[in-house]
C-alpha cells in the first residue's frame, strides 16, 4: 500500500463508509430508518468525533463544547438570512466563526490543564449561553430562537432570483430535506472520520497522544506543547461548529439551549459511552444516545402494556408503573444509569467491551496470548 493509508486503515474507512451509507437499510430492523433521525446520527457523530480529537487524543476534558456547536448554528443561520439559502457558504461561515471562537477560548483555557481546564471551558460556555439569552438577543433572538423569514435580505440569492415561497436551505437549488439531507450530512461525517483517522496516525496525532500520557515529559523533551493542544482545540471546535451548522441546515432553527452545559455534557457522554480515544467509538456512542433518546422517549404506558402483555394483570401494572419511569419523559434516568454503569465497569466504553470480547474469542481460537493481543489491537482499530 501507499504511504497515504495503511491497508488496515483503508479497510476500516471503507467498512465505516459502507455502514454509514447503507444505514437507511441497516437501521430498518431497529425502526430507526427515517431521515430526521439518521441526519441526527450523522450530525452528532461529527460532534462526538470532533470532541474526541480533543478529549480522546489530547486528554483535555472540555465541558464547554456546546458553545462551539451553538456558535456554528447561529453563524449558519445568519448566512442563510443575509447571504444565501445555499448550504455551502453557511457551513463555511459557521466553521470559520466557530474556529475563531475556539482560537479565543482555547488560547485562554489551555493555559491550565486538568479540572481547571474543564472549569474554564465550562465558564466560557456558560457565559456564551447566558449572553445569548440576554444581551445578545438582537443576534440570537433570545428564548424564541433564530429562524429564517421571507423578509431576510439574502444578498447573493437576490442577485440571481427573486425570492418565492418559504425559505428552506438548499444545495445549489437541490432541496436538503429528507434523504438528500441524510446523504449530505453523511458525506461530512465520512470526511470528519477520515480527518480524525489521519490525525490519529499522523506525527501530529502522536504528539497529542504524548501530551495525553505525560505533558511534563513532552515539555522536558523540548517540545512546546501549547501550539499542538491549541491546534487540536481549534480543530475540535471547528468540527463542533460544522455539526451545529448542519443541524441548522436540516432543521432551520437555532436556539440558545444547545449551548447549555447539559448539551456539553451530552457530547461527553457520547464519547465515553462509545470509547474515548478510539476512532469508531464516539460515533457509536452518538448513535446509541440519539437512538435511545428517540426510541425511549416515544414509549408510553400503552406501548409498555403491550410489551408486558404476557404478565398477569396486577403484576403488569406494577411493572409498567416502574418501567414507565425509565422511558418517555424519564428516559434521562436510563441514560444516567447506563452512563454510571459504563464508567464503573467499562471505562473504555463500548469499544473496550468489543475488544475484551474479541480478545476472549481470539484466546479461545488460537490458545496463545500473543494472538489475543493482536486481535485486541485490530478490534480497537
Amino acid at each position: 500500500m501507499s504511504n497515504f493509508m495503511s491497508r488496515k486503515d483503508l479497510t476500516l474507512f471503507l467498512g465505516f463508509a459502507a455502514v454509514v451509507l447503507l444505514l437507511p437499510i441497516l437501521a430498518t430492523p431497529f425502526g430507526a430508518a427515517y431521515p430526521d433521525l439518521l441526519q441526527r446520527f450523522m450530525i452528532f457523530g461529527i460532534f462526538a468525533v470532533g470532541f474526541n480529537i480533543l478529549f480522546g487524543l489530547t486528554g483535555y476534558l472540555s465541558f464547554g463544547h456546546a458553545a462551539f456547536f451553538g456558535v456554528g448554528s447561529y453563524a449558519a443561520m445568519w448566512s442563510f438570512k443575509l447571504l444565501s439559502l445555499n448550504a455551502i457558504p453557511a457551513i463555511l461561515f459557521a466553521v470559520v466563526m466557530s474556529g475563531l471562537f475556539a482560537v479565543a477560548v482555547g488560547y485562554v483555557s489551555l493555559r491550565r490543564s486538568g479540572i481547571y481546564f474543564s472549569i474554564l471551558t465550562l465558564a466560557f460556555a456558560q457565559m456564551s449561553y447566558n449572553l445569548a439569552y440576554s444581551v445578545l438577543t438582537p443576534i440570537t433572538n433570545g428564548e424564541t430562537g433564530l429562524r429564517m423569514t421571507l423578509s431576510d435580505p439574502r444578498v447573493i440569492d437576490g442577485l440571481f432570483t427573486s425570492a418565492s415561497g418559504a425559505p428552506v436551505p438548499s444545495l445549489f437549488g437541490m432541496s436538503l430535506s429528507g434523504w438528500n439531507g441524510f446523504y449530505f450530512t453523511a458525506i461530512f461525517l465520512l470526511a470528519t472520520f477520515f480527518l480524525s483517522m489521519r490525525i490519529s496516525n499522523s506525527p501530529f496525532g502522536m504528539m497529542l497522544k504524548g501530551i495525553k500520557s505525560n505533558q511534563n515529559r513532552m515539555n522536558y523533551t523540548g517540545f512546546n506543547t501549547r501550539p499542538y493542544t491549541l491546534t487540536a482545540f481549534i480543530i475540535s471546535g471547528m468540527l463542533a461548529g460544522l455539526a451545529g451548522s448542519l443541524l441548522v441546515v436540516t432543521d432551520p432553527l437555532a436556539g440558545a439551549e444547545r449551548m447549555q452545559w447539559t448539551a456539553s455534557g451530552e457530547v461527553v457522554l457520547m464519547t465515553i459511552l462509545g470509547g474515548v480515544g478510539t476512532l469508531v467509538g464516539p460515533v457509536i456512542g452518538a448513535w446509541l444516545i440519539k437512538y435511545f433518546e428517540n426510541i425511549f422517549s416515544s414509549f408510553n404506558d400503552n406501548v409498555l402494556n403491550n410489551f408486558y402483555s404476557f404478565l398477569p394483570d396486577g403484576l403488569r401494572e406494577v411493572v409498567v408503573a416502574v418501567s414507565g419511569k425509565f422511558v418517555g419523559e424519564g428516559w434521562h434516568l436510563s441514560l444516567g444509569l447506563l452512563f454510571v454503569l459504563i464508567v464503573v465497569f467499562l471505562p473504555g466504553g463500548i469499544m473496550e467491551g468489543v475488544r475484551r470480547i474479541g480478545a476472549r474469542f481470539g484466546h479461545m481460537r488460537k490458545g496463545s496470548k500473543s494472538s489475543a493481543r493482536v486481535g485486541a489491537t485490530a478490534a480497537v482499530g
Partner: protein, 343 residues
C-alpha cells in the same frame, strides 16, 4: 450612595451563603477523599426536597364528601381536615407554619444516610481512578438523582412558604442607627445568612477543636501515615462525606423559601459552586467560604441597574468572568495551596 451599595452587599449575602455552603461541602469531599464530586449539587437538591416532603407529610389531610351540603354549582362540598391539626390542635398549625426549619430534623438523618450510602456504594471505588472518571461517574449519578426527583415530584418548581413570623423585612438601617426604612432586608434572607454562618462556624469548630476533626485534618495532610498509626481513616473520611452531604442538604432545605426547588436546582447551583471552589483554590476551606461570599456579592453588585447600563449583561457572566481572570492571574485560586490537583 452608601445605602445603595450596602443594600447590594446584603443582597449578595444570601446567594453567597448558599454558594459558600455547597463549596464547603465540595471542598471537604475533595480535601478528604480526593474526589471531585459532581453529584454534590444533587445533594443540595435532595435537601430541598426533604423540605418539600416534610411539608407534604405535615399537610396530609382527610377529605370527606358531605352529600347533604351542596356547593352553589351542585357538587358535594369536600371537607378537608388536616391530620396534624386534628391531632395536635394549635400546636399542629405551628408545626405546619414552621415546616421549613423543622424539616432540618428530617433532612439531617436522611442526608447523612444518603451521603454515607453514596460514598460506600459508589465513590469509594473511584479513589484511585483519574479525576476525569470521578467527574464522569458523579456527573452520571447527578443525572440519575435529578431524574429520580423528577419522577417523584414532577418537573415543576414547588414553592415552600416561609414561616409567617419571618416573612417581613428587617429594618437593618434602623438597627445601625440610620433613618428607619432606608435599608430594609427580607427577614428570611437574614435568617439564611445567620444560619449559614452558624453551619460554617460549626464545621470549622468541629475540625479544629475535636479529636475527630484533628484526625481528619491529619488524614487530609497525610493519609498514609495516619493509617499506619492504626487509625481507621477511611471510616472517618466516609463520615466526613456524610457531613458534607448534611451541609449541602441543610443549605438546600433553608433555601427553599427563596427559590422554589425543582429537579434542576442542584445542577444550577453545582456549576456555580464548582467555579466558586476553583476560584477559592481547590482544597482550601477558607478559600471556598471567602470566594462563595465574594462571588455572591459581586453578582449582586453586577445586577445593579447603574452597572448594567455601563456593561450590559454583566450580571449574567460576572461569576464566570471573575473565574477566568482569577485562574489566569492566580492559577491556584485565591487561597489554594501548592501541590493540590497538580499532577
Amino acid at each position: 450612595m452608601f445605602e445603595v451599595l450596602f443594600l447590594q452587599f446584603l443582597n449578595g449575602l444570601d446567594k453567597g451563603s448558599a454558594y459558600a455552603l455547597i463549596a464547603l461541602g465540595l471542598t471537604l469531599v475533595f480535601g478528604t477523599l480526593g474526589v471531585v464530586n459532581f453529584a454534590h449539587g444533587a445533594l443540595f437538591m435532595i435537601g430541598a426536597f426533604c423540605a418539600v416532603t416534610f411539608r407534604q407529610l405535615l399537610t396530609l389531610e382527610t377529605v370527606t364528601v358531605d352529600p347533604n351540603n351542596l356547593s352553589p354549582w351542585g357538587t358535594p362540598v369536600e371537607i378537608r381536615a388536616p391530620l396534624v391539626q386534628a391531632w395536635f390542635g394549635d400546636f399542629g398549625a405551628i408545626l405546619v407554619n414552621y415546616s421549613v426549619p423543622l424539616s432540618l430534623l428530617l433532612a439531617i438523618p436522611v442526608m447523612l444516610l444518603i451521603g454515607i450510602g453514596m460514598e460506600r456504594g459508589l465513590i469509594k471505588y473511584f479513589y484511585k481512578r483519574p479525576h476525569a472518571e470521578q467527574i464522569l461517574v458523579t456527573f452520571g449519578l447527578a443525572i440519575v438523582l435529578g431524574e429520580i426527583i423528577k419522577a417523584i415530584f414532577g418537573p415543576n418548581p414547588i414553592p415552600q412558604p416561609m414561616p409567617t413570623d419571618l416573612r417581613g423585612a428587617a429594618d437593618i438601617g434602623a438597627w445601625l442607627g440610620m433613618a428607619p426604612g432606608v435599608i430594609t432586608y427580607p427577614l428570611w434572607r437574614l435568617v439564611y445568612f445567620l444560619f449559614s454562618a452558624g453551619i460554617i462556624a460549626a464545621v470549622f469548630a468541629f475540625l479544629q477543636f475535636t479529636t475527630f476533626g484533628m484526625v481528619v485534618r491529619a488524614g487530609m495532610a497525610d493519609r498514609e501515615t495516619v493509617g499506619i498509626l492504626g487509625i481507621n481513616i477511611d471510616r472517618r473520611f466516609t463520615i466526613m462525606f456524610g457531613i458534607a452531604a448534611v451541609v449541602a442538604g441543610m443549605a438546600g432545605v433553608m433555601y427553599t423559601p427563596l427559590l422554589p426547588p425543582n429537579y434542576t436546582i442542584g445542577m444550577d447551583f453545582l456549576v456555580i459552586s464548582f467555579v466558586v471552589v476553583v476560584v477559592g483554590g481547590m482544597g482550601s476551606l477558607p478559600g471556598a467560604i471567602a470566594s462563595g461570599f465574594l462571588l455572591g456579592i459581586l453578582q449582586s453588585f453586577a445586577s445593579m441597574t447603574q452597572v448594567k447600563a455601563i456593561f450590559p449583561g454583566i450580571d449574567q457572566i460576572i461569576i464566570y468572568l471573575v473565574a477566568v481572570i482569577i485562574l489566569l492571574v492566580r492559577p491556584r485560586g485565591l487561597l489554594g495551596r501548592r501541590g493540590v490537583m497538580e499532577t
